[in-house]
């Protein structure tokens, strides 16, 4: 049955529960398709043999009360998986085999899912195109030589290309929503503190969040329900009442107030994006919601703020890669020489660049001018959101200022690459939830996404709006299987 991989997560779960499909059949189908899809370079490490064993074991004694019964799933290679190599897309972790499991993946396996393998990503999640990975760039299933976005590029490619029914990524400045937008998939960045960061390779600790990437909103809601949990192993995990997101999902958004921020109408934004946004506004109105023009006056300061805060935290987090306790070690004449060579040979160019920026803005004499300044502006950005949320329930914006670009198109100009995240970064700085849903195509036939931003802990509301809009949009992803010979 070759159509198994075309089914959504929700459909696969139904088929398993009705005993129309076994976990073995499903797992086999995704493994076969993954094996035919090497050209996408979506996987860094596969665990197919063991996945099949686990599926067979599941079928012998299936527990159908679980939320993800016998469902195979590949995950971003930023999540530590016990006894399975975890690289974060870096040479420096190329030989790292965790002896423990991240909380988010543990939650997934506890609900019956089976690990298919680890998916490619930008090195330490630093990138917007998956081109900074030590393991090579990832192809977008939409078209050859097109980037899938980043940093969760392998995850986006694997979901859009149907190599996995669903996946998880991480989002520090847009790393779930931007690749979701570039590949015609749904990506949710939850509220900061919703999903535990325990066992996720750290990039910028005050911004990092794990979240689901899916083919549709319902699947996304189901996985969010599984991964979101309070965890004492992450001191920033927040103990709040979590909804049963998939069960409580409704397309009734009548009377909801949705803000349209004028500052997201940026210079040079293609007309296609503006048109898409207008269409989105019409869709939410058609669903009975009300739109209100709002202002988030500090929006244009978000990206410069991010490029101080994120590298500062990264330079501190990545100090642990010194070649002593784990990971790659270069030979050195003495201890200091060993550190310097290990980090110089082990980290790629983008990671080194960001460590350098972070070290500089935290260094003596520059801390106040850069880091402290950025934390103050971050407060202003958060205040903007707090202010508008007195009037609106959610905010609707485009997900990205353009559709997916070609591999190599932006690699020589870091600032133009950073501008990709202009609409997604403010959400991370303010710790809010945001979801990107596919909403149309540009003239080249490439997918475009719209983003719905919610109040903190209000994932249910943005999932509902996304669900209602999805029905109206009726988006069909144009996947031609060009990479399968």
């Amino acid at each position: 049955m070759s159509d198994i991989t075309k089914l959504s997560l929700t459909e696969l779960v139904e088929n398993i529960k009705n005993k129309k499909l076994s976990s073995t059949e499903i797992t086999k189908a995704f493994i076969e398709r993954s094996e035919k899809s090497k050209e996408l370079n979506a996987y860094i490490t596969d665990d197919f043999t063991s996945a099949l064993d686990k599926a067979k074991k599941f079928d012998q004694k299936p527990n159908l009360d679980l939320k993800l019964p016998g469902i195979p799933m590949a995950v971003k290679d930023l999540f530590c998986t016990k006894n399975i190599k975890t690289t974060a897309g870096s040479k420096i972790l190329n030989n790292f085999v965790p002896t423990y499991e991240s909380t988010v993946t543990e939650n997934i396996w506890n609900e019956g899912a089976i690990l298919l393998g680890k998916l490619n990503c930008d090195e330490f999640a630093m990138g917007s195109s998956n081109e900074t990975s030590f393991f090579g760039n990832v192809q977008n299933p939409i078209d050859k030589d097109l980037v899938p976005g980043g940093s969760s590029g392998g995850s986006a490619s694997a979901v859009a290309g149907q190599l996995t029914p669903i996946t998880i990524g991480t989002d520090t400045g847009g790393s779930i929503r931007q690749p979701a937008s570039f590949t015609g998939t749904v990506g949710l960045k939850p509220t900061y503190g919703s999903c535990s960061r325990y066992g996720i390779v750290a990039f910028a600790s005050s911004l990092d969040q794990a979240g689901p990437m899916a083919q549709n909103v319902k699947d996304c809601a189901l996985l969010q329900e599984v991964i979101s949990s309070y965890d004492t192993k992450d001191s920033t995990s927040i103990d709040f009442k979590r909804n049963k997101y998939s069960k409580e999902l409704t397309n009734n958004i009548k009377g909801k107030k949705i803000g349209i921020p004028k500052e997201y109408r940026v210079d040079g934004m293609p007309k296609e994006i503006e048109d898409l946004w207008q269409k989105g506004i019409q869709y939410v109105k058609d669903c009975g919601a009300e739109t209100i023009d709002i202002s988030l006056p500090h929006t244009s300061y978000a990206l410069p703020t991010y490029y101080i805060v994120a590298p500062a935290e990264a330079s501190s987090n990545l100090a642990r890669y010194d070649g002593v306790k784990y990971g790659f070690r270069a030979k050195g004449e003495n201890l200091i020489d060993m550190y310097e060579k290990t980090r110089s040979e082990g980290f790629g160019a983008e990671v080194q660049r960001r460590i350098m920026i972070g070290t500089y803005v935290l260094s003596s004499g520059y801390y106040d001018a850069y880091y402290l300044k950025a934390q103050k502006v971050r407060k202003l950005i958060k205040n903007d959101f707090d202010e508008v949320y007195k009037k609106v329930d959610a905010i609707l914006t485009p997900s990205t200022p353009s559709s997916a670009f070609k591999i190599g198109e932006k690699t020589n100009d870091p600032v133009s690459m950073y501008l990709n995240d202009i609409f997604t970064v403010p959400v991370n700085l303010a710790g809010l939830p945001g979801i990107s849903i596919p909403a149309g195509h540009d003239s080249k036939g490439y997918p475009l996404g719209l983003q719905i931003i919610g109040k903190a802990f209000d994932e249910q509301n943005i999932l509902n709006i996304a669900y209602a809009m999805e029905e109206k949009i009726n988006f069909k992803n144009k996947i031609t299987d060009w990479w399968i010979k």
């Binding site: 005050s206 410069p304 306790k325 550190y339 080194q352 103050k376």
Partner: protein, 95 residues
């Protein structure tokens, strides 16, 4: 504002990342264009703004100080780059 090669050398030393001349020049160029972009923040007056120190405005929970992971020495040194049964091995530090 301009980041010169001397500054790059200084940051590279602080970062413990060795950088040769050619790479230092490239980095200076990249960092200057990034900092030109960051300078935009100076348009804002922030003297009276309190910096954001925690994104989630909750107080940290206290917990009892208990050992939860016991006898995991083997696990901890399992990924050590240089094999030794009991220690992490580094190049000689004391002459």
């Amino acid at each position: 504002m301009s980041i010169d090669l001397k500054t790059i050398k200084h940051i590279s030393k602080l970062s413990r990342i060795s950088v040769d001349e050619k790479r230092a020049e490239k980095l200076a160029g990249d960092l200057n264009s990034i900092f030109d972009f960051i300078e935009k923040l100076n348009e804002l007056k922030t003297d009276k703004v309190k910096p954001l120190t925690s994104i989630a405005e909750t107080t940290l929970k206290l917990r009892s100080d208990e050992v939860k992971s016991k006898n995991i020495r083997e696990q901890i040194i399992k990924n050590s780059p240089q094999d030794n049964e009991d220690y992490f091995v580094v190049p000689k530090v004391i002459e």
